[in-house]
Each structure stands twice: as structure tokens, then as C-alpha cells.
């Protein structure tokens, strides 16, 4: 059995939580039933009022109660650091550091091991906050996300700054969307819906499979008569200029969490599940080769690509990914949901209606 553990970022259920169709308990229970017991959150999504109002003690107590009740483990609080909070000027350095410190404290309060930093944050800010993270038993992980990748000069600069800092409270959280080896079908379908001619969409999909340099594809689409949406579809190829999972191997000692990004999980009649555009078989192999023992947290992002045509079913999508991950990790049991994913929300609605 693999030492890699399964988790879910509650980002995955955003379509349901946005509408109040799932409560925090629904999210945690559903993940736990799937055996995905590592729970990652975006603090601002899960805790009403964070950061401007702080987080209410009652809410934090509720969090710990649910984590305990469903035998889960807090993994990561993903923070945002809005350094463009002031119009027309960037937040001063000291204020950025202070903001990161508050997120460190919040992460610790929630029992997290990690807080996720966005890649747009300057490495100096994180280096300055690192001692505070060490004191609170937190590691700050930069999310390496397309169009960035482990060979991008900006990421190399972070890695150099981390090494120079001497702190092991600084690390990386690679988002598997980096390793897009095929054009996602849900992207193509969305671009078709907004008016990209079929022949152009087919060409772009094939050019991506053929790994053609984005600039050639953009020119070809122009020559095919493509306009607005077709150019936008071609320009998405600029986002993936490198996608070798093996490049994570250089950084394993600093990789502590993984975003299991996916756009669409397909299921065949045998119940086998696959992400057609992200090579999870290869990814899992590389992570095992690198001795990774952390979580892969499901991060469903197909919602935004299909919502104009159909209501996303985030739970079913997460379930399929967990089925795939469990199989790739050599688990014998197939993850299954036992309780209605909206049970708590439904109960609340019933209570409210009765009042």
C-alpha cells in the first residue's frame, strides 16, 4: 500500500456551498465517507467573515467537532493575501508579512499543518514570515500552478530564497493542473458553445496533443479565420509550456501537499474512472518514486466550464476522482458515499421551515 493519503479541498464543492445546498458538515462527511480524510479549505470560503471579521470561536469549535466526528485531519488553510487591496498601490511589505502571520495563526487555530500561499506572492514576504510559521508548527506552501512550473524562473527564485532562508517552514504545493497533457474535453465543449467553429476547436485539440508551440497554433487559428473565442481558445495553450511530472522530483523535500486538480472525471461501465487531460497514473508513480507521504487533495475545477450548460454535480465528480486515486494507490476498497451529500443542509432547511 502506498503511503500517499487522500484528501479533498472543499473548493471542489463550491457550486453547492455557494448556493447553500451543502453545509460544512456535508462537505466533511462526504469526503470522509470516500476515505478522503484530509481536509483542505480556502479560509475565506469556509469561514464567513475571514479575514476582515476574523473567524468566530463558535465556527472554529464547530470545525474541530466535525473533524473529530468524521475522523478527518486538517491539512491546509489556503490563504489569499490581497496585496492589491488598496487601489492603485501594492500593500506595503510589512503589512503583507503581518497579513501572512494572521493566516499562520488562523491555520494553527484550525489544526492545519500547512497554509497555502499563491504564487504571486513575493518570496521575501514568505521568508520574513517563516519564523512565525515555525513557532506555530505551520509550513507555508507556495502553490505551483500553470502557467508556472518547476522550471519557471519565478519558481526557481522562490526555491533559491527558501534554501537561503534555511527554514523548513517554506515549501511547495504543486497543482496537478500543471501537467495537462491533453486539451480538456469540457474546455473544448465550452469553447464550442461560445462560438468557436468546430474545425478550429478540433485543430486546437489536436495541436495540443501534438504539443505544438502555442504561438504557431495562434497563427494557424488566425489563418483559419478564427476570431475572439477561437483566439482565446488557442491562447489557453500559452498556459502549459512545460508539463513533466518528473520535475517534482527535484523538490520533493519541500513538497508537502498536492492539489489533485481535475476538470472532468469520466467513468466507464466497469466503474473505472479517469481524468482525460491529466495523467494521474504517471503523477502517482512520480510521487511514489519521490517518497511522497502527504495528501493528494481533490480539487474539482470543471464546474466553471460546464455551469452555463448544466448544473455541476461536484460530489459525483469528487467521488470518481477518489475512486481513481484509491485504485492508483493500491487500495482494495472502492470509495463509496453512504449518506446523502446534502443531508445536513436538507435537515437545516427542514428545521428552518418548521420554525
Amino acid at each position: 500500500m502506498s503511503k500517499i493519503k487522500r484528501g479533498v479541498s472543499l473548493y471542489s464543492y463550491q457550486n453547492e456551498t455557494f448556493q447553500g445546498k451543502m453545509t460544512l458538515e456535508d462537505c466533511i462527511r462526504t469526503s470522509a465517507e470516500l476515505g478522503a480524510r484530509g481536509i483542505e479549505i480556502i479560509g475565506e470560503q469556509t469561514f464567513w467573515g475571514w479575514p476582515e471579521y476574523g473567524a468566530a470561536d463558535a465556527d472554529v469549535e464547530n470545525w474541530h467537532r466535525l473533524i473529530k466526528q468524521y475522523d478527518c485531519t486538517p491539512v491546509s488553510h489556503d490563504f489569499m493575501l490581497d496585496y492589491k487591496r488598496y487601489k492603485g498601490r501594492i500593500m506595503p511589505f510589512d503589512e503583507q508579512v503581518a497579513s501572512v502571520k494572521r493566516d499562520i495563526e488562523f491555520g494553527a487555530r484550525l489544526g492545519m499543518k500547512f497554509i497555502r500561499a499563491l504564487v504571486s506572492i513575493a518570496p521575501e514576504v514568505l521568508v520574513a514570515a517563516a519564523p512565525h510559521a515555525e513557532e506555530h508548527g505551520i509550513k507555508i506552501l507556495i502553490e505551483v500552478h500553470a502557467p508556472l512550473h518547476f522550471d519557471h524562473p519565478w519558481i526557481v527564485r522562490h526555491a533559491e530564497a527558501f534554501e537561503k532562508s534555511g527554514s523548513d517552514a517554506l515549501g511547495f504545493l504543486p497543482d496537478m493542473g500543471m501537467f495537462l497533457h491533453a486539451f480538456p474535453p469540457v474546455w473544448k465543449e465550452k469553447f464550442l458553445r461560445i462560438g468557436v467553429p468546430r474545425n478550429i476547436a478540433d485543430y486546437i485539440e489536436k495541436a495540443y496533443a501534438d504539443r505544438v508551440l502555442s504561438e504557431y497554433v495562434i497563427l494557424e487559428v488566425q489563418e483559419m479565420g478564427g476570431t475572439g473565442p477561437a483566439i482565446a481558445m488557442a491562447e489557453t495553450l500559452r498556459h502549459n509550456a512545460a508539463f513533466e511530472p518528473k520535475r517534482m522530483l527535484d523538490y520533493m523535500p519541500r513538497i508537502h501537499n498536492i492539489h489533485g486538480k481535475f476538470y472532468q472525471m469520466m467513468e466507464d461501465t466497469n466503474g473505472d474512472c479517469v481524468e482525460p487531460s491529466i495523467p494521474y497514473d504517471e503523477i502517482v508513480k512520480v510521487l511514489q518514486q519521490g517518497g511522497y507521504e502527504g495528501y493528494i487533495c481533490s480539487e474539482y475545477e470543471g464546474n466553471r466550464w460546464i455551469e452555463d450548460a448544466e448544473e455541476p454535480d461536484s460530489v459525483e465528480q469528487v467521488r470518481r476522482q477518489q475512486v481513481m486515486l484509491a485504485k492508483l494507490l493500491g487500495e482494495a476498497e472502492v470509495p463509496t458515499i453512504k449518506t446523502s451529500p446534502t443531508a445536513s443542509a436538507d435537515a437545516e432547511a427542514t428545521r428552518e421551515a418548521a420554525e
Binding site: 447553500g20 476582515e52 487591496r85 466553471r304 452555463d308
Partner: protein, 124 residues
């Protein structure tokens, strides 16, 4: 994202000197109010002036210019804000409302504007 969930169905109502509806931020998290750059409301094809728009959450009401320097309040994830337009009022009946929000997201290399259009009925 959540584009088609921005305007809350059935939320159109009259206000003193105008009308209101409930609107949600099309985003997977909330935002501090200073990062809401603009809210544009169009009614039956007619763009309402920025000056006529008010944003109201949890009992506090702001003009769009005021919001730009509000650092201690937010528009939470999924939160239904009341969007008030002081245009003198609307006639009862159906109206086509377009609700567009421009918001500044620190990590994005562009400033997105997202909008939703819905037909809402104003009770007589």
C-alpha cells in the same frame, strides 16, 4: 464562475426612490469591499449611473465610491447583497436586469468583469 447565479431569482423589489435586487459575487471566495471596482446595473437596456448604485450587506449601505476605501467589511462567499438603484423607481411588471461586477483580484493578471442577465418581476 457562478455567473448565472449572480442575480437571485425573485428578489426584485421597490425601494424609496428606486428599486433593489439581491446579488452574489461570482467568485469562489469573498472579497473585501475595496476590491469591488464597479457594479453596473442595466434595466431594460438602460445603463444606470454609477452614482445611483448602492451596495448593502448586513445593514450597512455604501456608494460605489465609498466602497473603494472600505477595508473592514466584505462581500462574503455566496452572500446575498442588496443592490439598490436610486433611479426614481420602476413600474410594476417584468424587467430585464443585467448585473455586472468588476473586481480586483490580486493574483490575476487582468481585472475581470462578470455579468448576469435575468428577467425579474416587480410586484405591483
Amino acid at each position: 464562475m457562478m455567473d448565472n447565479k449572480m442575480i437571485v431569482e425573485g428578489s426584485l423589489q421597490s425601494e424609496d426612490g428606486g428599486f433593489s435586487f439581491l446579488g452574489r459575487l461570482p467568485y469562489y471566495r469573498g472579497l473585501g469591499l475595496s476590491m469591488i471596482e464597479d457594479i453596473q446595473v442595466t434595466v431594460d437596456g438602460e445603463v444606470q449611473s454609477r452614482e445611483s448604485v448602492r451596495f448593502s450587506v448586513r445593514g450597512k449601505t455604501y456608494t460605489l465610491d465609498e466602497m473603494e476605501t472600505v477595508y473592514d467589511d466584505r462581500w462574503n462567499f455566496g452572500e446575498k447583497a442588496k443592490i439598490i438603484v436610486l433611479n426614481g423607481g420602476l413600474a410594476a411588471g417584468d424587467h430585464q436586469i443585467t448585473f455586472a461586477v468588476r473586481y480586483r483580484v490580486s493574483y490575476l493578471p487582468f481585472v475581470p468583469t462578470t455579468k448576469d442577465t435575468k428577467d425579474l418581476a416587480l410586484a405591483a
